[in-house]
């Protein structure tokens, strides 16, 4: 086939490419003119402008569309000596400028507003493992130790209030007492305060919820994906109409389901079955089934066909071939993928919690909205610890499996 045979179809395709290019270029320019100079223009004119300039451009013989469809129509000049070369450079530049404007990139804020992140930073360096509070009995204890009346009175004001860490509590005392009194009575007050691990308990409970949520989502996804993967493997499906239809159907649905993020599934299911770990589990499960089906079936497609043929030649049935020649070849990569998936699911489970999927993610969201930065700090540490250890374990196990 000669590349530059002139035909209407390629000519039109070239023109369309030019038109799209110029529409984009004028669109970007208009965006900047509108945002920066307040220019207002009817879209009709913009389209006309694009059509006009692309037509003109096309005729010059220096157009992108023509370059693409009739390469030999262009002179063999170096790109930087051509109009289209400079236009592409210009359009890349303008894309960057428009992008900068749209994303509201602001280096000034990045360097000057760091103190806004002070809350979360101090939270991370001082996570609330032990909470402090003063109760009536603490005050009674302090009275016995002959603390001045006015200090007891002052402390009464904060009795019952919960402080997330020792430091936070001390800072409150520092604010309420004069320096001398603070130095003198800090120790007995701290000693008599009631300590609790409420937040830690709660975080650990919801963390367990998250881990089990991820585990269950993975475990429930395995058999489904396992069965589906056999039907989604090209080399196993018979080359009949039915076989092909099943293959295409499963592959397509899996691809669509996988391209919808788990977080979107969580939103759907939190409306469907209500906010909580069940919604989160369903979201992760659906996503896992789709992802594992793809990974598993690709693994099947990559197996050595030799043993499969050999077993077929013994007169084995299709199911026997699967069991004796296919499964032994895929079992260890399957396990590796599955463990990796659980690892991913644990991470995802916290994020899914943010949008109604329950678990520690939900707790993190609540604490963040209450601005309890020390609690947030604790939660972040716990999540990091779990993710880190899952990462280690899964890497170790996968390394072992690959030796098998």
């Amino acid at each position: 086939m000669k590349k530059d045979e002139i035909n209407i179809k390629s000519a039109l395709q070239g023109l369309v490419i030019d038109l799209l290019f110029w529409s984009y270029l004028w669109g970007c320019l208009y965006y900047l003119a509108h945002n920066w100079l307040g220019l207002i223009l009817n879209y009709k004119y913009l389209i006309m402008l694009a059509m006009f300039s692309s037509g003109l451009f096309y005729l010059t013989g220096d157009s992108i569309g023509r370059k693409y469809f009739f390469p030999s129509h262009l002179t063999s000049r170096k790109w930087f000596k051509t109009l289209w070369g400079w236009l592409i450079i210009f359009s890349l530049l303008i894309t960057f400028v428009v992008g900068w404007d749209i994303v509201e990139i602001n280096p000034y804020k990045f360097f000057t507003k760091f103190k806004n992140a002070g809350g979360i930073t101090s939270g991370i360096f001082d996570p609330s493992i032990i909470g402090y509070e003063l109760q009536t009995e603490s005050l009674e204890k302090l009275a016995e130790q002959n603390l001045p009346e006015e200090i007891i009175e002052e402390l009464k004001k904060i009795s019952g209030r919960k402080y997330t860490t020792r430091k936070v509590f001390s800072r409150e005392l520092e604010k309420r007492l004069d320096p001398a009194a603070y130095d003198k009575y800090k120790q007995p007050i701290l000693k008599s305060a009631i300590k609790n691990t409420e937040m830690l308990n709660k975080a650990l409970t919801t963390l367990a919820e998250t881990i089990f949520l991820a585990l269950l989502a993975t475990v429930l996804a395995i058999p489904l994906a396992f069965i589906l993967s056999f039907f989604a493997a090209r080399n196993l499906m018979p080359k009949t109409f039915l076989g092909n239809t099943i293959y295409v159907l499963i592959r397509t649905v899996a691809t669509i389901f996988r391209s919808i993020e788990a977080i979107v599934w969580a939103i759907i299911f939190s409306v469907w079955v209500g906010i909580g770990p069940f919604a989160g589990m369903l979201a992760l499960m659906i996503h896992s089934v789709a992802a594992l089906t793809k990974l598993y079936s690709e693994q099947i497609e990559n197996i050595d066909s030799g043993p499969v043929e050999a077993v077929r030649a013994t007169g084995a049935s299709t199911l026997q071939i699967w069991i004796f020649a296919v499964i032994p070849q895929i079992i260890s990569p399957y396990l590796a993928f599955t463990i990796y998936r659980w690892d991913i699911n644990v991470r995802m489970a916290t994020i899914v919690g943010f949008v109604g999927g329950g678990g520690i993610g939900l707790l993190l969201l609540q604490q963040q909205q209450l601005l309890r930065w020390h609690n947030v700090g604790l939660i972040i540490w716990l999540i990091a610890a779990v993710v880190w250890s899952m990462d280690m374990i899964s890497a170790k196990v996968r390394a072992k499996l690959s030796e098998m």
């Binding site: 043929e309 013994t314 007169g315 049935s317 069991i323 004796f324 260890s332």
Partner: protein
């Protein structure tokens, strides 16, 4: 002698358009050790794989024990396949299973699904499998994963697997092509022994004339999908050899 396999006007045209077999007629007698010779691409593998229907012939018939293999399907095809053992150049063992389990898979055509799942625990089957491994001298390797065995050992496990089928016919597609000459000969010895002692008919494709002369009772040569020679191994002289392999070919002696 009785005819075991009768191939009439067999053609194979691949989807790619390659006409790999152009009217093969072949009558294989019981007890023969038939050597298939031919250049690479002459259609040896295609012919062997048509016989047990690993690939579908385009036209023609293959009569095995009074049944036309080309016309059978499903259970009937599997009943025929189980009587035909197959040996491959690449051994085609399931590498992460033990030698014994690999041999046991030779039994699959005879048993139902439930039985096959428990096969490694069924005494009778295990004893037969061990007997077959012993015949190829590998009993002590029975619980080794076959990936840890040498090429020659793997091919012997494959022979034991074929024996497990209790076959009337063994198809061997270049069984020694990936082995060194000494090992190649020892593997061929096992095939020759089965042919003599168990009266198993063997069709074996080879590239070495010396091995063909040593073990074959009959030689069939293919060229461009057609039979260009059919006779006794002794009949192949310099002239015939050049007909089969082309003028430039030199005979390579091994052993």
């Amino acid at each position: 002698m009785n005819s075991l396999l009768n191939i009439n006007d067999l053609h194979k045209i691949y989807d790619s358009g390659t006409h790999a077999l152009r009217g093969i007629n072949l009558d294989v007698k019981e007890g023969e050790f038939l050597i298939l010779l031919g250049l690479s691409g002459s259609g040896k593998s295609t012919l062997l794989r048509c016989i047990n229907r690993l690939i579908e012939p385009t036209s023609g018939e293959i009569i095995f024990q009074k049944r036309n293999i080309v016309k059978t399907s499903g259970k009937a095809l599997r009943t025929i396949r189980r009587q035909i053992g197959m040996i491959f150049q690449q051994f085609n063992l399931i590498k992460n299973l033990s030698a014994l389990t690999n041999v046991l898979t030779g039994k699959l055509g005879y048993v139902n699904l439930v039985h096959s799942l428990g096969m490694t625990k069924i005494k009778e089957d295990v004893i037969t499998a061990e007997k077959n491994l012993d015949r190829v001298g590998l009993l002590e390797f029975k619980s080794q994963k076959t990936r840890n065995l040498s090429g020659g050992q793997q091919q012997r496990v494959a022979i034991a697997r074929a024996l497990m089928q209790n076959p009337r016919l063994i198809l061997a597609d270049e069984p020694v092509a990936s082995l060194d000459p000494a090992t190649a000969d020892s593997v061929m010895k096992y095939l020759g022994e089965l042919n003599k002692n168990d009266n198993i008919t063997v069709i074996c494709s080879l590239h070495f004339l010396s091995l063909a002369r040593k073990y074959g009772t009959r030689v069939v040569a293919l060229k461009d999908g057609q039979i260009v020679f059919d006779g006794s191994p002794r009949e192949i002289d310099e002239r015939k050899f050049k007909d089969i392999y082309g003028e430039e070919a030199e005979e390579v002696e091994i052993r």
